[in-house]
């Protein structure tokens, strides 16, 4: 076999490597390869590199650590200046919030057009990190909360001889509100902070810049999978919390109030309907979006110093919890108006 190189105009390293592999395969198959004209220089380079003869090197040594630069404290501002400055800052923040929301929507819309852009493997990882690993703590808290409600309400209701209504309180309370709310707050603390810290430290390392420079959209690889992962994980966690909460209530009624299990179940079936369950669970994806967006958004704002990372991680958690409770209040009003 002969390879003609006379009309070869350009050959990059990847091309040369392909040629190198091809010749190697040919040799392995017992085919003689000869060049018509001179073999390209790049081929020699590939050959030398793979044989470890080039590049000329090397004794590698440790880096010199660089001293971190202390941040200077801003001087105290007079109250008027303070007011003006903060008004401007908040207004600018609001614009940035909107910009983030817009960016996110565009990325999400683009992500829905192809599964490759959706990054399913990445999503699965986040479902695992935010969902599966949270099951023990979520279960424990759901159990304890249902025990607390049952115990406290039993004490009060006993005065009226209406102990059986403990079941109503526990089941409706857990399914409609407490299951999803407490799960969301735990997840905001666990995963909202993790999102902010992960993305924030990537920003500090210039990793996000490196993504931009290679033409990869960080929103697509970092933000969207986290949001979608949590949107999948949180409803599932809520369902687990609901089940554990109901079981906890049953356990307490059985052993503390001497209520037979069959009575608990009959009473619970009277108290709740399918909508009671769905009202709770359908809030979960909304809360998940709020938590993930707060975490990712604050993470993306991190720059320059690790102190900033801490501040924004804290802010992410605080805002996530606030947004969850605020949204829950809106849901409560909405459901009241809808008479659900």
């Amino acid at each position: 076999m002969k390879i003609a190189t006379a009309r070869l105009q350009a050959l990059d390293l990847s091309g040369a490597w392909r040629l190198h592999e091809f010749i190697k395969q040919a040799h392995a198959a017992g085919v003689e390869v000869a060049f018509e004209g001179s073999p390209p220089d790049q081929l020699r380079l590939v050959d030398q590199t793979l044989r470890g003869e080039s590049p000329p090197c090397s004794q590698l040594t440790r880096p010199i650590p660089l001293n971190p630069i202390e941040e200077l404290e801003a001087p105290a501002l007079r109250s008027l200046e303070f007011l003006g400055r903060h008004s401007v800052l908040y207004a600018r923040d609001l614009v940035r919030d909107l910009a983030f929301l817009g960016r996110m929507s565009v990325t999400a819309a683009r992500g829905l057009t192809s599964t490759r852009r959706l990054r399913p493997i990445s999503i699965a990882r986040h479902v695992y990190d935010t969902g599966i690993t949270a099951i023990p703590i979520v279960s424990l808290i759901a159990f304890l909360i249902s025990v607390i409600i049952a115990y406290m309400s039993a004490q009060q209701l006993r005065n009226f001889g209406a102990v059986v209504f403990v079941v109503d309180l526990v089941t409706i309370g857990v399914l409609r509100e407490l299951g999803v709310l407490l799960t969301s707050i735990i997840v905001a603390g666990r995963s909202g902070s993790a999102f902010a810290a992960e993305i924030g430290s990537m920003k500090l390392n210039e990793e996000v810049d490196a993504l931009y420079a290679t033409g990869v959209d960080p929103f697509e690889v970092l933000v969207l999978p986290r949001i979608l992962g949590l949107v999948i994980a949180l409803p599932l966690l809520t369902i687990i919390a609901d089940i554990i909460g109901l079981a906890g209530g049953a356990l307490l009624c059985r052993f503390l109030l001497d209520m037979p299990l069959t009575q608990y179940i009959t009473r619970a079936q009277d108290a709740i309907t399918a909508t009671t369950f769905w009202v709770g669970v359908m809030k979960a994806p909304v809360f998940a979006t709020l938590i993930a967006m707060a975490g990712c958004y604050r993470g993306m704002q991190v720059r320059d110093s690790s102190r900033e990372l801490g501040r924004l991680t804290t802010l992410a958690v605080v805002q996530a919890i606030f947004l969850v409770i605020f949204a829950d209040a809106l849901f409560a009003i909405l459901f009241l108006e809808l008479r659900i």
Partner: protein, 262 residues
């Protein structure tokens, strides 16, 4: 009209009231090693970020391969980005991925290849950057500073770019490692016919590798050959090239920067 491989015309960058660049011009030709020098805070990194399209300048034209990137959409810029490689100051390796995966990532995004072939090609790039084969499966946190620089260089070479940007390639390295890294850059520049643009503070690196140097002073750039810039009358440039450290260099005789290109 034939454009230079990189051309910056009338670049203006401003942050609040702080004017960083005011009408900065530079031109980089094929097969040369171009050094960017400037005092701290003169906007070397801002210039690099503008050229890489990480931030839009207030005014000015930046042409890469004859196309103005300041007026490009994100989609058009994606195509341009595949044509140059960047090595960041701290390496900016993705800490969650191994060195090999780091090198493969640009290939995954830009080239359709078989995974097995892709990882072998990535190994070639890693070897080419002077890293031992066992470094490929290590994570960035397990590497020394010199190895991080080399891994970052390997990633910058992932897509066979013609244009290579290096931000402080030898900062944080001891003089011997720095000298080896300079050798490596010169070697790769010659072998792969790269055009290299580097930001550096290291006088040794400048004298060893650069053909031409641009110094950022007074918000614009003084560009000259290495011999020319040393004799530039601007006080900062005089202070920089004729300071304590530089004098030893000059006394030793100005070395001719290696033969570049073909």
């Amino acid at each position: 009209m034939i454009y230079p491989i990189l051309e910056v015309i009338g670049l203006v960058n401003r942050f609040g009231t702080q004017l960083v660049h005011d009408g900065l011009n530079m031109e980089v030709h094929e097969d040369e090693v171009f050094g960017i020098v400037g005092g701290s805070g003169t906007g070397k990194s801002v210039l690099l970020r503008s050229i890489l399209g990480l931030q839009r300048p207030r005014a000015g034209i930046i042409r890469i391969g004859g196309r103005d990137i300041t007026r490009m959409s994100a989609g058009q810029l994606f195509g341009v980005k595949a044509r140059y490689g960047v090595s960041f100051q701290q390496g900016a390796l993705y800490s969650a991925l191994t060195v090999r995966e780091n090198v493969e990532l640009p290939m995954i995004e830009h080239v359709d290849m078989q995974p097995a072939a892709r990882s072998e090609l990535a190994m070639l790039k890693i070897r080419l950057a002077g890293l031992p084969a066992d470094a490929a499966e290590k994570y960035p946190s397990q590497l020394s500073g010199g190895m991080i620089k080399r891994a970052a260089l390997a990633r910058a070479l992932a897509l066979d770019p013609k244009l290579l940007f290096l931000d402080e390639p030898t900062s944080g390295l001891d003089p011997i490692s720095a000298a080896e890294f300079d050798e490596l850059i010169l070697y790769l520049q010659k072998q792969l016919r790269l055009t290299v643009i580097m930001i550096t503070h290291d006088l040794d690196t400048i004298f060893r590798t650069c053909n031409r140097v641009g110094v950022i002073v007074d918000r614009h750039m003084e560009v000259d050959t290495l011999e020319g810039i040393v004799n530039n009358p601007h006080p900062w440039i005089q202070a920089y090239f004729h300071g304590e450290r530089a004098r030893e260099r000059l006394l030793a005789g100005l070395p001719s920067p290696g033969t570049h290109g073909t």
